[in-house]
Symmetry: C2
Subunit: 265 residues, 2 copies
DNA sequence: GAGTTACGTTCGGGTAGCGGGAACGAACCG
DNA sequence: CGGTTCGTTCCCGCTACCCGAACGTAACTC
């Protein structure tokens, strides 16, 4: 199968766009009414109404006296998605344990669409706030998870992502040059783990280790915390050890539950 | 706001239907290709292709060499939905504890669309298999959760659901008569908990208690297990106590996080 | 209780946005 | 190298969709 490069020429379907606009508003606010949505999304009430009917009939929405709201159906889909990803149970176990022992934020991320998506997150008792949340995306080049995944991907995929990213400096430390990124990736590949030194958020440092499978990476696990607690010594010492050990456990326990048979030549 | 009765006259939108058909196929199988989907759903490849583009652009799908797959974005939506429901954390805590102490299946359900939707489920170490799963729906009249919720709802809503349900006997014990159901609901209301005596699945019995808030019900919590272990004595004794206590804890901890202000007359 | 406002819902028409079919290019096979 | 199968593209025609306007109803005001 061929995977098209970026730049969508295929048409995007208007009605579907509207439907998901509605769903995204409903993510933010629990109950929304027809008129409210119509104003917000710039469509007529009748249009919105038809969409709401469709979504309700399909059981993605529920109509209540206060307005429409997302139904629990989404939870079912989410569970299926979790099941589809490598060994979700092992991942949560390792992440939870690491969060408990270190007291910091521990996350597991995978690559999607040239960005990092967070699959699971646990916060230890000293954990600071971050902008990440399960299911959302962040750039590859400015996070330790992203860089670590990039470093262990097949080289062509890495190259494609590195060259197609639009770099934006979140902090003075953010890497915004493909060349610089490539050499950073080489360093990560040889040392076996990646570090984010306030490149994504000022004051926060992270360490990540990859979970590898055959020729590619399933994802990576990271510890995040304030620079005050994340000294060079600890980062390259205990923290690097921790993430690498956890990544290893996940690797060993992950009987890659892919449906597709891996193709050998 | 007026809430329309069943019987959709509003139009349902074809493209949205197709989009969700795709998503539902992707729930079952991790990776699916264009041609495969086109055949399965009875549309041309170009149609499917446009939809896939739209969904991918919106980040609900990811394109991989093996085909398209659902992205982690869904997990974010699911988390939001959980946050929107009353106090999710308390509910999981109580359900987990009850599953641990009893060893059986414990579930929390709410009413949606005249059916029971499962919000959370935990299995104790002796737990048997059931057909329920988080996010899916089951009839109100044949489950203890459903009957219990019905019993404590505002009477007009109860009446509407009871009369609009299409009754189907899953087992010889299933209640299929509105009149009979109403008297069962009265019994549940007066005794404070509901029982399912092999009405939904042969060999399984359940006990449920309602979580009430002001004039209505937020949901109900239930214990499920094999009739062999669920004798009349235990059901009306320890099990009824357990669910009622847990429901009570949830009630007390639930600062109803509704956005809408409840209307008093 | 009339008048007002705001809501969800219904209906029909005109148009552009979709769905279909066919063709292209790229992999992969023997 | 011919055959197959995949994803992708393109264009044409029709229909399904979006809009606007009207309706019904609940709630609130004075």
């Amino acid at each position: 199968m061929t995977v098209s490069e970026d730049g969508y020429s295929g048409r995007t379907i208007r009605s579907v766009t509207i439907a998901f606009n509605i769903i995204e508003v409903l993510q933010e606010r629990k109950h929304v009414g027809v008129t409210e949505l119509a104003n917000e999304l710039g469509h007529s009430k009748s249009t919105i109404y038809s969409h709401l009917q469709t979504l309700t009939e399909r059981n993605y929405l529920v109509q209540e006296p206060e307005g429409y709201r997302l139904s629990l159906r989404v939870l079912d889909i989410a569970n299926r998605v979790r099941e589809q990803v490598g060994n979700y149970d092992v991942i949560t176990k390792e992440v939870d344990e690491l969060a408990e022992t270190t007291g910091e934020i521990v996350q597991f991320g995978i690559e999607e669409h040239g960005m990092v998506s967070y699959l699971y997150k646990a916060a230890g008792d000293q954990a600071v706030e971050t902008r990440s949340r399960v299911g959302i995306q962040q750039p590859m080049y400015s996070t330790s998870l992203g860089k670590t995944i990039l470093a262990f991907m097949p080289t062509d995929r890495t190259a494609s992502i590195v060259s197609n990213a639009d770099y934006e400096a979140n902090t003075p430390n953010t890497i915004t040059e493909p060349a610089e990124l490539h050499s950073e990736l080489d360093r990560i590949e040889s040392q076996g783990y990646g570090v984010d030194d306030e490149e994504n958020i000022q004051g926060l440092r992270c360490v990540s280790a990859p979970v590898r499978h055959e020729e590619t990476v399933l994802g990576a696990i990271s510890i995040t915390g304030p620079s005050s607690r994340f000294t060079d010594d600890r980062i390259h010492g205990e923290f690097a050890d921790h993430v690498q050990r956890a990544a290893n456990v996940i690797e060993l326990n992950t009987k890659f539950s892919s449906t597709g048979v891996s193709e050998f030549d």
